[in-house]
């Protein structure tokens, strides 16, 4: 491992990392380099922004963390489990603990808002009352309580995005990945989504938010991991993230 890459690993908190990536590369066929030698750590309970222009590798990084994709090279560990060697059962158990709000939502258009948000809770066999209460709570926080029984296909993009976030947050997972969570939202909805993220963060959830929405980065003092053409070019200190972010860009 080169010194430059080692610098990207937060050694002070290395004892309890939620996500560790060591010299991770991802090359898509035929030779599209999505990530190149990226090393980073995200500690338990931390909230970080993964930033960068379109095509910088943010989505790929998130896909590697939730094991939708495998790295071409390098090591990825989530909750101390090596994702390149994880068993099918181990992967299923891990995925139950990761909430993911996908950029393309991956919602089921024929099912209602309730049914979509309930899915991760049904998978872990939560009881019906808990599921209903949690769905109501999330819809209230996100400002769409009246949409509970409406099929996803009849919602606007912004509303669908909030449902995707609600589904990711449903089980209050230890790790939440959000890919451009405010991309289709107005200011008020963005505020609601960020409030939910802060609430989860306060409760101990580790959050990795891939975004290029400067408004949400500016308001928070959280670490920024900035990607450019597949390389990690900035791993900022939370205290001066905005200044670094602006310089990095």
């Amino acid at each position: 491992m080169s010194d430059a890459n080692l610098d990207n690993i937060d050694l002070n908190n290395f004892t309890r990392p939620m996500v560790v990536a060591v010299r991770v590369s991802k090359v898509y066929i035929p030779d599209i380099v999505a990530l190149k030698d990226v090393s980073l750590t995200v500690n338990k309970g931390e909230m970080v922004f993964l930033t960068g222009m379109s095509g910088a590798g943010k989505t790929t990084m998130l896909k590697l963390i939730c094991a939708i994709e495998k790295p071409t090279k390098g090591l990825i560990e989530v909750a101390e489990q090596d994702l390149t060697k994880i068993s099918q059962t181990g992967l299923q158990q891990l995925r139950q603990k990761i909430g993911v709000a996908y950029q393309d939502f991956k919602l089921l258009p024929k099912l209602t808002v309730f049914e979509n948000i309930a899915m991760p809770m049904e998978i872990i066999y939560q009881n019906s009352v808990t599921i209903h209460n949690r769905v109501d709570e999330l819809l209230e926080i996100l400002g769409i309580p009246d949409k509970k029984n409406i099929p996803i296909g009849k919602l606007s993009r912004g509303e669908q995005q909030r449902v995707a976030i609600a589904r990711a947050a449903a089980n209050a997972p230890p790790l939440l990945l959000a890919d451009e969570p405010t991309g289709n939202l107005d200011a008020d909805s963005t505020e609601r989504v960020m409030d939910l993220f802060h609430h989860l963060h306060g409760a101990g959830t580790t959050l990795i938010i891939a975004t290029h929405d400067e408004s949400i980065i500016q308001r928070d003092l959280h670490r920024i991991l900035d990607l450019k053409q597949g390389e990690l070019i900035l791993n900022s200190d939370p205290r001066d993230n905005l200044a670094n972010y602006r310089q990095g860009i």
Partner: protein
Amino acid sequence: MGHMAAIFNQTGRNLKQTWGTQIMTLFTVSLSVLIFSFFFLVYLNIMRGGEKLQDDLRIIVYLDNEIVPAMQAQMEKKIREFTTVEKVVYISKDQAFKRLEGQLGADRDVLAGLGSDFLPPSIEVYPQKNLSSLTQIKELSEYLATLPGTSKVQYGQSWLERFGYFTKLLRLIVLSSGGLLILTTTFIVSYTIRLTVAARHDELEALRLLGAHSFYIQGPLILEGLLQGLLGSLFGLILLYSLYQWITTRFSGPGFLNFLDFTFFSPLISVLILLTGTLLCVGGSLLSIRKALRI
């Protein structure tokens, strides 16, 4: 939510989404079970009828002359060595005459002046009352014809042959319809589950991304196959029972069915048909799941 409640919930959702295909599948399974069980029922009743008919079945070996008891015992020994028979009875000329008199009853006068020794002595061989013995009667009669002192061997040859051919044909039909049942139920259910999997492709992908256990994904599809098999077989049997009731009501009184003493399946056979139909559908379901989900 409990494990099974979640599985039932998912299954209900699947059935709601693909109800049209489900009804077609149910219909096909019912029809297959109906066809198979109809022929099976006819076959069982014919076989049972055949067993009843055998009560009167015997082979009569007419002899040239009366034989002494030692010779009778020797012939019986030879017959029993050749095959297992129920009983062997020697009928002397005198006994044959008395039997004929008894049969003629009031008309016995026609025998006046004929003398009591004009009928030939015979040995009556009563074969075992099982179906396999029916097919062996021909062989036995051929053997009996070779015994010394035998003048003629008689039995219901043409009737037995026709009955034998008929049971063979029925057996073939039962086997074919059984094969048809296996093919249609397995194929149709497997095809339906594949359609369900295709219709729910996005949902199954979402479930996998959310970390659903294999059982959570496969369980509802297996349950779907199980329900199709159970309900399809049940409807098939109910249809057959209705048909049976209709036929026995319509054709009651002296006739073919009474002659056969036509009865429905015993509870055990009904349960076995239900179980077989259900297991075949679950098999078809598993086959499809493994292919479609590549698990």
